[in-house]
């Protein structure tokens, strides 16, 4: 189900931002986040992206990174710099990886604005705040767990 949602979201972005994926035509990219249970394959073909959870397919490139590094990439961080700092592991065709990163960096989306269309401004803003905290942490899952634990042990007294 996550793959279907991700696929629809990606193709929606491609369409609304008029991003051309033809340079990646026929390429298969395996992508995994080290700190979240996300491992998917992207197949770029016929002017769209298919997302698959079947990672047994032979890929042109395998990319492994943390969620925070992924968000940094989206915000324009240099791939070569991240590679040098060992924040991203790439096996296979680095050129394909670079093309994918270039493509992702073309996406300039105001997530809060998009979300507010469905949830209203208040919920969208709160989700946005959460996402910013999540992004600033090196280990987001642990950070969320810590925050919940703190809240449960020492609830704020009004």
């Amino acid at each position: 189900m996550q793959a279907v949602i991700l696929e629809r979201a990606l193709n929606y972005l491609l369409e609304t931002h008029q991003i051309d994926v033809s340079l990646l035509d026929g390429k298969v990219v395996h992508f995994s986040l080290q700190d979240l249970p996300i491992e998917v394959g992207f197949v770029c073909t016929n002017t769209r992206i298919f997302v698959t959870t079947d990672t047994s397919t032979i890929a042109d490139v395998n990319i492994k990174l943390k969620a925070s590094v992924f968000l940094a990439l989206l915000q324009g961080e240099d791939l070569t710099k991240l590679l040098r700092e060992d924040k991203i592991i790439i096996h296979g065709d680095v050129k394909t990886a670079q093309l994918l990163v270039d493509l992702l960096q073309q996406v300039d989306i105001d997530f809060e604005e998009e979300l507010s269309k469905y949830t209203g401004d208040i919920v969208a803003h709160q989700v946005g705040k959460l996402a910013k905290k999540f992004k600033s942490s090196d280990n987001p899952l642990t950070s969320i767990k810590d925050k919940i634990t703190t809240l449960l042990i020492r609830p704020k007294v009004q």
Binding site: V4, N11, V28, T45, N46, D54
Partner: protein
């Protein structure tokens, strides 16, 4: 000389006879097909089809071929996605089903869909013609399934998407027992009461049991040349959606 045989439900029949026998089934059920689908699946077939459309990755301007499209549920949804710049072809081997599809789409105000009577084993379109080819609850009735999948591969453009929605096998023991009882005891009786046709619904139950399971069908899709195939189990595996990409 030994005659080649195939299955028609649990019966073994001459290969050349199966197509005509399947036609007989659908001639008989065509005018009650939608009603029976709603009753027999408790309306779930609408959700399965909705999921298929959501998974299709079809966009405005695409060309879509729906094989064994029957009463046109998928074709209607595809027509809305591809818009005026796209093209949807609704096809079925059975003229009675195709007529039902045409009537349905006209009644629902859908225009621009083309109707073609064809066999999935010999698709009369050029290579690399469509962005998406779908077949929902039709493949199990095809005599030579491998040939049908090869044909769908042929007419798909490179990067095109194949969608096979079909009854499959559940591995949930309790659900399997209920489903077994329901298929062979309730379904034919409902067929008798609502459509005055017990035999066709007995065939439906039997043909589901003879259909390849998820993994076998996935391998058949890969063997036909698709670079990628994955399946999504729906309703505990009672139905599976196989999605193949021509890469």
């Amino acid at each position: 000389m030994t005659q080649e045989t195939t299955h028609f439900g649990f019966k073994e029949v001459a290969t050349q006879d199966k197509q005509g026998m399947v036609r007989g089934v659908f001639d008989s059920v065509a005018n009650k097909y939608d009603l029976m689908n709603d009753v027999l699946s408790f309306g779930a077939h609408r959700l399965w089809k909705h999921y298929t459309i959501a998974t299709s990755n079809v966009k405005a301007g695409d060309k879509v071929l729906d094989i064994a499209g029957g009463t046109g549920d998928l074709a209607r949804a595809f027509a809305m996605k591809v818009g005026d710049s796209g093209q949807v072809v609704l096809s079925d081997i059975n003229a009675a089903m195709l007529n039902e599809g045409r009537k349905n789409l006209i009644n629902k105000g859908v225009s621009g869909v083309e109707f073609v009577q064809l066999s999935g084993e010999q698709i009369p379109f050029a290579d690399n013609s469509f962005d998406c080819v779908s077949i929902a609850f039709g493949l199990r009735n095809v005599t030579d399934k491998d040939q049908c999948i090869r044909e769908m591969y042929r007419v798909l453009k490179p990067g095109g998407c194949l969608l096979i929605l079909e009854f499959s096998k559940t591995d949930i023991a309790l659900l399997e027992k209920f489903y077994e009882f329901y298929s062979f005891n309730i379904m034919p009786q409902l067929g008798k009461i609502i459509a005055d046709d017990e035999d066709s619904y007995q065939y439906l139950a039997e043909s589901i049991r003879k259909h390849p399971n998820q993994e076998t069908l996935k391998q058949m899709v890969l063997d036909a040349g698709f670079g990628l195939c994955e399946y999504h189990n729906l309703s505990g595996g009672i139905v599976a959606l196989h999605k193949g990409i021509k890469i």
